[in-house]
Amino acid sequence: MRTGVGSRAACVSALAAFAVLAFAGEAGAQGLMVTGYADLEAQVQNVGGDNDTEFFFDNHHFNVIAMGNIIGDIFAAAEVEYEHAGEEIALEYGYIGYTGLKNFRIMGGQFIVPFGRFNKDLHPTWINKMVDRPHGFRNIFPQTYSDVGIWLSGGTAVGNGARIAFDAFVVNGLMGEDGEDIRGFRGNDREKQDGGRDNNKAFGGRLGLELAPQGFDIGASIYTGNYSDNPDEDLNLRLFGADAAYRNSGLEIRAEVVTADQEGTVEDLTKTGGYVQAAYLVDSKWEPVVRLSVRNMPGESQDQNRLSFGLNYYISPAAAVRLNYHINNEDSDFESDNNSIAAMLVTSF
């Protein structure tokens, strides 16, 4: 998300304030800390194609997180993301939370919308097992999607290491023009609303079940809200997601699907995407990964699928080198041989 000078100044000021608190002796005793993650990417695109092959470096992320138990049961966290070598700066989240209730937490502010596993948990590059996001999580679910509102989260043990996880949220919601790309609907803040016209809030949440000793978890997510930026239109956007994962002895298999039902004045649109991914960690160091991701959009010309092969080397539990080869099939203006190579050095700190 691009931001103006004012927003950048706000982000930097917020970060500076947190940093001062974190390093000050008195506040440091509260457990405030500064952490984050950073990466360096190298991309070679259109491999095997004509003379249009591109090679570039990208400092895709340098994200700084400040968080801590402020006082009593009040917790605060903020992440400032510097993307593409500072070209894009935004507050990914900044919220305060109350954690004094048994197994139940209440947060207010800007937060990463708890929908699915990739948006909620897996997208940070030091966690994501591949350099890029899978298809379906750009133009169908607009990952990374943060919004402003109220978030309730919690977990309840149900026996033998099993746990039900639940999240619910009410937020300003995605907003844009009739039938347009969902990715452009993010950032529905006061500035975009031009005075706060949008009274239609979006609702949703995720319900999951984790069988920890068996290494298995599943979940379902929903989002619903009026997305039209025209006050005279009532156009609903409904997103539905389902996810599942299995882990055992270094093997991890994940799958996630997302569907968007987007109402329009001319026609309703249905968009579907998702991925299946398998990874195998060997000796806590090497990890081959394979991922198939697809997206089906209205009209065949925007359908895409990608088969990706990756190899991760973990320098430490916090740092990795990733190497990916993508076989891309895009039924749009691209040639079918626009395969790509991506490499990344990433660390959390």
Binding site: S153, A162, P213, S249, A318
Partner: protein, 197 residues
């Protein structure tokens, strides 16, 4: 879609209303290996200070939907091995004997080692040391079979001490978790496991 919303809503109400004590409590190391490792590589306890772990576990309680019991157990495990902050405590005068400040201090013995093993090691290595504890499935390679006489005879005392103290593979180093007396006691007990085999 309306039906789905109802299912999710009903599930959320059910989840909130379930009694928390219905569950068997997982140990901190089980939560660390099974649930933290569900998203990312398990971070060693000595990566952060105890205060930092407190903040991180609150963050994870929110973001990863941990129960209060799970986050408290994981926090206890992580803080026990947390990176120590340099303290400006005065050193005792030469020749003055200082009693161990650790209330768990017990003589170096296999019996004491058994107690420490049960608390710190059993989740991964299992009751008999066979590498088949409840948290073992999260790792590759699996935790070592400490009851394997051939494997253990191939390890010198120094090699075994180094592995336990400094950590090996996904196993964190216990030199920062256990006082030296307890480390020696648990080493004795580990040796006894293969002798029983």
């Amino acid at each position: 879609m309306r039906a789905l919303k109802r299912i999710v809503l009903a599930g959320a109400v059910l989840a909130i209303s379930l009694p928390a004590n219905l569950a068997a409590q997982r140990s901190g190391v089980e939560v660390w290996s099974q649930t933290c490792g569900n998203c990312h590589m398990n971070q060693p306890p000595d990566r952060y200070t105890a205060d930092h772990w407190a903040s991180i576990m609150t963050h994870m309680k929110i973001a990863a939907n941990l129960t209060d019991d799970e986050s408290e157990a994981a926090l206890e495990f992580l803080q026990a091995g947390a990176r120590k902050v340099a303290e400006a405590e005065p050193r005792p005068a030469e020749g003055v004997q200082v009693a161990s400040s650790d209330p768990t201090f017990l003589p170096i013995s296999a019996a004491n080692g058994a107690k420490i093993y049960k608390k710190q090691c059993i989740a991964c290595h299992g009751e008999k040391g066979k590498g088949d504890g409840p948290a073992a499935a999260a790792f590759n390679p699996r935790p070592s079979n400490l009851a394997d006489a051939e494997l253990m005879q191939g390890l010198t005392e120094e090699e075994l001490r180094e592995a336990v103290a400094e950590g090996k593979g996904a196993m964190p180093g216990f030199a920062s978790i256990l006082p030296p007396e307890d480390l020696e006691a648990v080493l004795k007990y580990i040796r006894a496991l293969s002798a029983e085999d």
